[in-house]
Amino acid sequence: MNGLERRIDEAKECLDLPLDDAAIDRLRAGTLARAHRRERTRRTVVSVAAVLALGVGISTLRGWPSEAPRVATDERSGDATRPILPRATEVRVTRDGRVEVDGDATGVRTREATSRRVVLELRAGAARFEVAPHPERTVEVQAGEARITVLGTAFIVEHHEAAVRVEVVYGEVDLDCHGSSHLLRTGDQRDCANESADAPRSEGPRDGRAHESVLSSPRLERGERPSSRRRIETPTGAGDWRDLAAEGDFDGAYRAMQAPGARAVTDHPEELLKAADVARLSGHAAQAIGPLERILTQHARDPRAPLAAFTLGRLHLDELGNPRAAAEAFALARRLRSDGPLAQDALAREVEARSRAGEDRVAQRLAEEYVRTYPTGTRIRSVRRFGGLE
């Protein structure tokens, strides 16, 4: 063995691809997604070839949708809402009632879209929903026997043959399962069976980790959830603003918070988050900054701190027009919990914020990180767009 061979022999031991359990899970999910996509493409190609060979027009062939997607119209804006497609698709309901879709799939429909109510149906597959809060509009997602009423949040719904799984990324949803109501908060996950059979309840993993499940379709990217949720007991005889907020009357809650003699917002992360929500949802976005920043400065170790940072980022980006401040907030959300359920979204939104702030090189670098870390991420399209990777 000559000198070069000896040096190569020593150096080759450093050529490695360390794959921990999380990376294996990610690659496994990516592999299944890729296999499904290619099978769908193969069927489409075969179908098109068959049509051309027969010399006939478009017909109902295997793998093609059996009916045209329905389109509903927003009464207030008059804009037609586009049909939305599932399979790890991202669905956004904007503040002005538009339903936007990132991605494609074939299992989600808009059943209703008015100024007061938006109803979406997930017939199959998986989709990530993000709903801009609006005090006068309810948003509901129907999937199988589950009815998810949105209270200003982002959540994931997977509709499988046996059950519908709902996981809340941030915010709150009310899940109606076979007539029983369940309030799910950030990090909560619940299954709703599609059959009326006795079965053990599933409240979420005991060890704080996401369920491993053998699914025929790929799961959306998710990370660890907080291992425990510390519930803060509000003082007895809590002031009216808290009650009004719990009832969804955010305008009333905001007025109550300002009223002379009102009980002050206590310095607990849960209450500070509520106060920020009241300010945001009553149209006083700038007033939400204080409580959120308080959480980050005084309660940075609290499990809710990443959510506070993320919410702050959204405020700055979506409502206050401060992309640079938003980018810092999203970056902080990731630093506080790099493996949490918000990390993927925080990175995606930081890409957008950096791009809007004119920091194109940073946006590109972060976009590359996103594509590398979450190859089947739900925001991959927008990340590629804002990161200049298209």
Binding site: D9, L17, P18, H160, C177, H182, R190, P375
Partner: protein, 186 residues
């Protein structure tokens, strides 16, 4: 009515999430089991052939996608790793050829990133130079050399993975070795 909630089906056992339930003897392996047992090995193989970790991960996924589609052809269960290696090697060759073609017509002028955790600065420099040279070598020659000197495979096994004779493997390895020594010295 009380809400009925059930966890989505797993493998039907209480096995911890990270360990796939093994197939019964003689049964075709489940995808999860196949993936967890062999993905790390295939990943290591690919990164030693192509260098770039992102590309290696991509090839791992393509390998197992091909495995899903071709699972019905797998008869000898004891040869699963060898079967997967052949698929991965084929995919590595395809991507190397594509990359060379893109470089030839000027569509790709960037150097591949190399995954070398724990390498000293000297080793990093050597590996970068080595892969820069390998980028100019025909893909089949490069793969034979890489399997031999970076992955430590026997000549007979390389012949099986590359679907060629032992003599051809030796010729390709020698040709690549000469190119490397001309570029980097001995």
């Amino acid at each position: 009515m009380t809400a009925k909630v059930i966890p989505l089906p797993r493998s039907g056992s209480d096995r911890p999430a990270r360990e796939p339930e093994p197939s019964a003897p003689g049964e075709k392996p489940r995808f999860d089991e196949l993936f967890r047992r062999h993905a790390a090995y295939i990943g290591r193989l690919c990164v030693r052939l192509v260098g770039d970790p992102a590309e290696a991960e991509d090839i791992v996924q393509d390998t197992f996608v091909a495995a899903i589609r071709g699972a019905h052809t797998l008869e000898d269960l004891s040869g699963v790793r060898s079967w997967l290696t052949k698929i991965a090697v084929r995919e590595c060759i395809r991507r190397m050829r594509l990359r060379r073609a893109r470089r030839f017509i000027g569509l790709d002028s960037t150097d591949a990133k190399i995954s070398m955790p724990g390498a000293s600065p000297d080793q990093q420099a050597l590996l970068k130079q080595l892969f820069a040279v390998l980028d100019r070598v025909p893909a089949k020659d490069r793969v034979c050399w890489g399997l031999r000197y970076l992955h430590g495979e026997r000549i007979a096994a390389i012949a099986e993975y590359c679907n060629c004779s032992v003599a051809t493997v030796k010729r390709r390895i020698t040709s690549t070795q000469l190119t490397i020594e001309e570029a980097l010295g001995t």
